[in-house]
Subunit: 308 residues, 2 copies
């Protein structure tokens, strides 16, 4: 199967209590693509400027990511984000955002990208997400991510966009906020009533829950002793999840495959945050992924008991 992602491509300058880096390769589409690339063919769509060069392309090509639909804007500069984290690594503090070429981004997908059976709409303006969804008529499985900003300033657009996708990946706080419902179980059900058949509620260091109409699956986060930079954790999660699911039949994957997808998402996110930017994932191996997957299986194993 094939998988297309549309989202941001960025240079990130990040400071955490454990170090700092300048102008690292980042952006939602980047983190998603690198994570997904371990499982399936990925086509990455997004705009970059003239400052985006061979070094950045090389990182993507080394993982086999197809970059044909990365639009390089003449005279433009790549989206730039500068931020920091305190000891509470769950909250990113933005110090500077320069949208640059991303501010004028009008997604134009090639026929090959439109033909993907699985589509991920990373966190961009909801109307743009919907335009992309409409371009990809052949996508039988579409997922999206969003954020509090769009809930605040473009809620109606976001709800319409959600109506056209199958899977929603959002933080639990954002799901509560969007649905104006403090209880997560009820909020997730309301979200499915808008259209999607599943909701992945990301819970940071605590893990994630998968809600479908029939069941709930809960997975703790892989317990890490070292977290250096949480930037891109959510996109790495979605990349691991959808990359794996796409390799298992995408829209035809069953409930068991969705559970395994949750675990692969969690594993990819865990590697992503151990070092800065894409440092860890770019030298990751499938064996390391399977090793950590196995640890998650062992760590969550709970036996049934005979009736009392």
């Amino acid at each position: 199967m094939s998988l297309t992602v549309v989202g941001s491509i960025a240079f990130d300058t990040v400071r955490t209590p454990f170090g700092e880096r300048e102008r690292m390769l980042g952006g939602s589409a980047t983190h998603f693509s690198l994570a997904a690339s371990f499982f399936d063919e990925v086509r990455m769509v997004g705009p970059v400027g003239e400052d985006f060069g061979d070094e950045e392309y090389a990182v993507l090509h080394a993982r086999g990511v197809n970059t044909d639909d990365i639009e390089r804007v003449s005279g433009g500069e790549t989206f730039f984000w500068r931020g920091h984290y305190e000891y509470d690594l769950n909250t990113a503090h933005t110090d500077e955002t320069r949208l640059n070429v991303f501010g004028e981004f009008q997604p134009k997908l090639s026929e090959a990208s439109r033909a993907a059976e699985t589509l991920f709409l990373a966190n961009i303006q909801p109307d743009l997400q919907r335009e992309v969804r409409e371009q990809c008529e052949g996508a039988r499985l579409a997922g999206l991510d969003s954020m509090n900003l769009w809930i605040e300033i473009a809620r109606d657009a976001l709800v319409r966009t959600i109506g056209g996708v199958d899977l929603v990946f959002m933080n639990d706080a954002e799901i509560r906020m969007l649905c104006k419902e403090p209880n997560l179980v009820r909020a997730a059900r309301q979200l499915m009533d808008m259209g999607p058949r599943a909701v992945v509620a990301k819970q940071g260091e605590y893990g994630a829950r998968l809600f479908t109409r029939e069941s709930i699956f809960s997975l703790p986060a892989y317990p890490l002793e070292t977290v250096n930079d949480p930037t891109g954790a959510g996109d790495s999660f979605a990349g691991g999840f959808l990359g794996y699911l796409s390799s298992q039949g995408g829209a035809d994957a069953d409930d068991e495959a969705m559970r395994r997808a949750m675990a692969y998402g969690s594993v990819l996110a865990s590697f992503n945050v151990e070092e800065f930017g894409t440092e860890r994932v770019r030298r990751l191996t499938r064996d390391e992924i399977e090793g950590r997957y196995g640890e998650l299986v062992e760590m969550t194993r709970l036996e049934a008991v005979a009736a009392a």
Copy 2:
């Protein structure tokens, strides 16, 4: 096996966004005992005043809790707590505390209570916890709970007390605070270095993690659509956990029994918070407990995958 708990017995006046109740039977020893009573014999130790009467004893006796070591202080009044919760049910706001007889509490355990093989030191002043631990020479498995207040004003005493127990039940934020280490995995290891062989990190609505020297087990909280009153959730968790573990050999229980104890703790906490005070747990049945345990098994089931 037998199980003794020493802690507070209280009247609680609680207001949440979903209702309010006045002078309900509460306190850490009460919530613990009711939860543990589904699995093993429980002896409850703590002080009450003359206002503690037949109605309150009847709730405990209906669940078979042994109340012989509840000390009724002549002319005294029972510990009283008044508090409220906002929509964020994870945080209790205290409006009024009257220690009453609890302020002068000097635990005097009968021979029968001292003879218990399993002991739980609910959240009271750490020096008192240590005195009780020393009285219970025969206890081969001792657990304790604590709170941020004691970390702030009696850290050294708490560390000494922790040195004498086998299991610590604390919120993850408290574990971080006690160990001055923001990473939970490292903090839990430091806590074990103080003496205990296992640490249960409670994570509220997210679940709990069990750390031992050999492994980590993670369990999500049972997903509830209705949470009316979180008071006593932690003590119900500890009661379900230690009650079950005591029934499985206490100190001799193996790692698998510890995992099941985590799940029973989670199940008891989930029932506790669905209604106010002890309302739900007092009419709970073992069948309902086993039903929810089975749901947790299903909800966390993750299969291994063949190597890629």
